[in-house]
């Protein structure tokens, strides 16, 4: 579904991502892990169009999306969330979800001006759509609150809800569990699984929470210093001496092997 080939980006002399080839298959949950500064978020930025690669290509659903602007890529069905809490702060939760439906609303300019069929139907649909997504993510009771006033965990969830509102085929989640307490993390895991199983979306996530990664991922890839170390099933990857070395240093890798 998503295929990155020999993807590289350099900032001056710094090789942030170097020659990484990675594929995500339809219907799986794939995780990208690696120590801090390994280039995981940079890789997401390259794939979602927020950065242009210096070399390599990205293919999504059989079309070349290398270097396209983010809004185009989102329009093709690849939507990402951000590592920092990225939300529309000064609107209510319901209004903010409405914005997320941008890609699903098609009313033309004159249709809008004349209150035509498409735009009236659209404005009716939105109510139902947002209800669905808000209940799916457990935000329904918060819908009338200003986004900046709801708890942090709910804001993180809202960021995912916003991405879901765009109905992506492939959802990129950048560290969704950051700052969540254990209960919220458990909720998040359930929702990610539901996204795959009920919404039939493919999920590609970056995460540091190993418990979450190992228990829900179908496959893992490991980045270190901008290069791909390995990829495979969670059980295999977590035993790989190179991975242990990358996280814990050389001494531990001997101990582990």
């Amino acid at each position: 579904m998503l295929q990155a080939k020999n993807l590289s980006v350099r900032f001056g002399g710094l090789k942030a991502v170097e020659n990484v080839s990675l594929g995500v298959a339809k219907g799986e949950i794939m995780s990208l892990i690696g120590p801090n500064g390994a280039g995981k978020t940079t890789f997401f930025n390259l794939v979602s169009g927020f950065l242009k690669p210096t070399a390599g290509t990205v293919h999504f659903m059989d079309s070349d999306i290398t270097g396209l602007p983010p809004n185009k890529i989102a329009g093709m069905g690849l939507v990402r969330t951000f590592q920092k809490t990225n939300i529309f702060a000064d609107v209510t939760v319901a209004e903010s979800i409405k914005i997320g439906f941008h890609l699903r609303r098609k009313a033309g300019f004159f249709d809008i001006l004349t209150a035509g069929k498409v735009s009236r139907q659209e404005n009716r649909d939105i109510g139902k759509w947002s209800e669905d997504i808000l209940s799916f993510t457990g935000l329904f009771s918060w819908k009338n609150y200003l986004v900046k006033n709801i708890p942090y965990g709910k804001q993180r969830m809202l960021a995912i809800a916003l991405a879901l509102a765009a109905e992506p085929k492939l959802l990129l989640l950048d560290e969704p569990a950051t700052g969540l307490n254990p209960v919220e993390t458990q909720e998040l895991m359930d929702i990610i699984l539901k996204i795959r199983d009920e919404k039939k979306m493919t999920v590609f996530l970056i995460e540091h929470n190993m418990n979450l990664v190992v228990s829900i991922s179908d496959r893992l890839a490991v980045l270190c210093y901008g290069e791909k170390l390995t990829e495979g099933k969670p059980a295999e990857v977590s035993q790989d001496p190179r991975v242990i070395e990358a996280y814990l240093g050389r001494g531990f890798s001997y101990a582990a092997s």
Partner: protein, 318 residues
């Protein structure tokens, strides 16, 4: 509010607006009312750019002025009727603001504000110096009034201020309707998305640049229409009407009334057109009091009068 109450409310407002000039019949009052209407349209159009799309423009008077000049020149040189030059003035401003928007909207915040302000100055310089076209600082005189509308036995003339008042009501209502439709559509939501968080908006598929340029173009177009209306009402225009002061004045109306609402700019425009007139009795102190009042309002009600009221009354979650 249910349907009946809402209908009743609308009828009451319409009746009040209809009866207003019968109550205050002096020309002086009527002039203030008509100017309030023109400023309401200007503030609404600027509100779309500043309030909804979040792009601060300090050169809005340029688009107002261009609409006025284009309409006035066509009317005085070639005798084109107001009903055509009105639209041409708007379209001209809209086209120019599209071009300028494409250029300057990649800038943000203060830099954008300063750049648009300079554009306003530039247009002023052209108005002052392209004498063969604009008659320079002397301005354009003898702008024709709108020609009467004749439909069967009905004949609508536009000769006194009260006629302009009623024409202006239709103008404001039309602009309000268009903006209401726009801001309650995907186009309006895209603007809010860009205002709130451009990066996130892009990740959700919003073409941020297109959205900003659209707001700027629509705002410029409507300001151009207002300029044309003004020119054919005052019947004389000169560059001094379209200074940066005027741009700032519009911006203050939007902020005072409440950004990102539709009623806010109208409230701001009407109260800030009428308020200075009340302060005339204070003589020399007028502008000092006015300035202080504005500062206090902005400190205490940063969301504007209507923005604050709306939050208190309807959501209770401010």
């Amino acid at each position: 509010m249910n349907r009946f109450l809402r209908g009743l409310f609308a009828v009451l407002i319409a009746a009040a607006l209809y009866g207003l000039p019968r109550l205050f019949t002096m020309d002086y009052y009527l002039h203030i009312f008509v100017m309030s209407e023109i400023y309401a349209v200007l503030a609404l159009s600027l509100g779309l750019i500043v309030g909804f799309a979040g792009q601060v423009s300090m050169g809005h008077a340029a688009f107002y002025g261009m609409g006025a000049y284009v309409s006035a020149i066509l009317g005085t040189r070639w005798g084109w009727p107001f009903w055509i030059t009105f639209w041409i003035g708007g379209i001209f401003s809209g086209v120019v603001s599209y071009g300028i928007g494409r250029l300057v909207l990649r800038l943000r915040g203060h830099v954008l504000a300063i750049t648009t302000a300079f554009f306003g100055v530039l247009v002023m310089v052209v108005m002052n110096n392209w004498i063969s076209l604009t008659n320079g600082p002397m301005g354009i005189t003898g702008i024709p009034r709108p020609t009467p509308i004749e439909a069967g036995s009905v004949r609508l003339v536009f000769e006194s201020r009260i006629h302009y008042y009623y024409l202006g009501l239709f103008f404001v209502a039309g602009v309000l309707y268009v903006l209401y439709r726009l801001t309650n559509s995907r186009l309006g939501d895209a603007m809010v998305a860009v205002r709130e968080n451009e990066e996130l908006a892009k990740s959700l598929g919003v073409n941020a640049m297109k959205s900003k340029v659209f707001a700027f173009t629509a705002g410029g177009f409507i300001a151009g229409l207002a300029g044309s209306f003004y020119a054919h009402y005052i019947l004389f225009i000169s560059p001094v009407t379209f200074t940066m002061n005027e741009s700032i004045n519009m911006l203050v109306m939007v902020i005072f009334g409440g950004m990102s609402t539709l009623f806010g700019p109208i409230l701001g425009a009407v109260s800030l057109t009428i308020l200075p007139e009340f302060l005339r009795m204070a003589g020399e102190m007028r502008l000092v009091i006015y300035g202080f009042a504005l500062i206090l309002f902005i400190v205490w009600l940063p969301m504007g009068v209507w923005g604050t009221l709306k939050n208190r009354l309807f959501s209770g979650k401010a």
